[in-house]
Symmetry: C2
Subunit: 159 residues, 2 copies
């Protein structure tokens, strides 16, 4: 659970970080930035801010914004609707992000990218200056994500 | 046909425009920017500069850069491999781009986007300051594009 203030503060942080990357947002997008605490109630440590540009039944594009040191907890994207799970390419725009994929770690800086195969366990953590990461992928079905920590809830409750 | 100088100049222009958007490129990416004249030999009027971030068998992401007033000639993305043709979302990052889709025109400025259905005739023209456009899509198969102008050749010859 997060408070309304935490949500507003995180949206403002994410919008400012995206603008610092030169990304122009509409007002509607700024207020649609998702603030996810994964049900763990420690947003600054485990959480993620997400702006979805488009998500069709074929492809998806998002911007991901992380606070300094913030981690998106380990999860995988399982197969669905008779197809493979979500395949996704992370491209770092600003700051630094450590990707943990299937037991290996790699660090991406601005202009570096990596593609995570479907149904593969991964987590990611921002460096000390936070991170902005573009995500290009097949269709996104966040509701189907399988997290390693059984306490995770993908839907964020705002108090 | 374009000259090697035209190609180099267009790559440098595109790289500078992308950097002006805050987009960080690697050296390898800068020199991999495609300069397409569509076989028409009048690059500044009809042409396009393209940086492909990723193109898997499920999705694709690119940056498109246009000179001021430059047009990408009318074409459509037909069905292939038993699936629908390419579906694509254009998001304007910088400048202005006029999209002509199936007889209608709409103008996108920074932060505005539009999704073009598969197999739908479209062309686009940059405004007087040029344009940078992010393209999010299903798999890209440029070799299958069907252009209205029979003189178009998708492969660019560099003299």
């Amino acid at each position: 659970m997060i408070t309304r203030d935490e949500q507003r503060e995180a949206q403002a942080y994410a919008a400012a970080e995206l603008e610092a990357c030169g990304i122009v947002l509409t007002d509607a997008e700024r207020s649609a930035i998702e603030v996810a605490d994964f049900g763990l109630s420690r947003l600054r440590e485990e959480g993620l801010m997400v702006l979805v540009y488009v998500n069709t039944d074929r492809y998806c594009a998002k911007e991901l914004v992380l606070y300094p040191g913030q981690t998106c907890p380990e999860h995988r994207h399982p197969p669905f609707d008779g197809g493979a799970g979500k395949e996704e390419t992370f491209r770092c725009r600003r700051g630094r992000v450590s990707l943990h994929v299937d037991g290996s770690e790699l660090v991406l800086g601005p202009g570096e990218q990596f593609t995570i195969p479907p149904d593969t366990l991964h987590s990611f953590t921002a460096g000390p200056e936070g991170a902005v990461v573009s995500e290009f992928s097949s269709t996104s079905r966040d509701d189907l994500d399988v997290f390693t920590d059984p306490q995770v809830r993908r839907e964020t409750v705002v108090a």
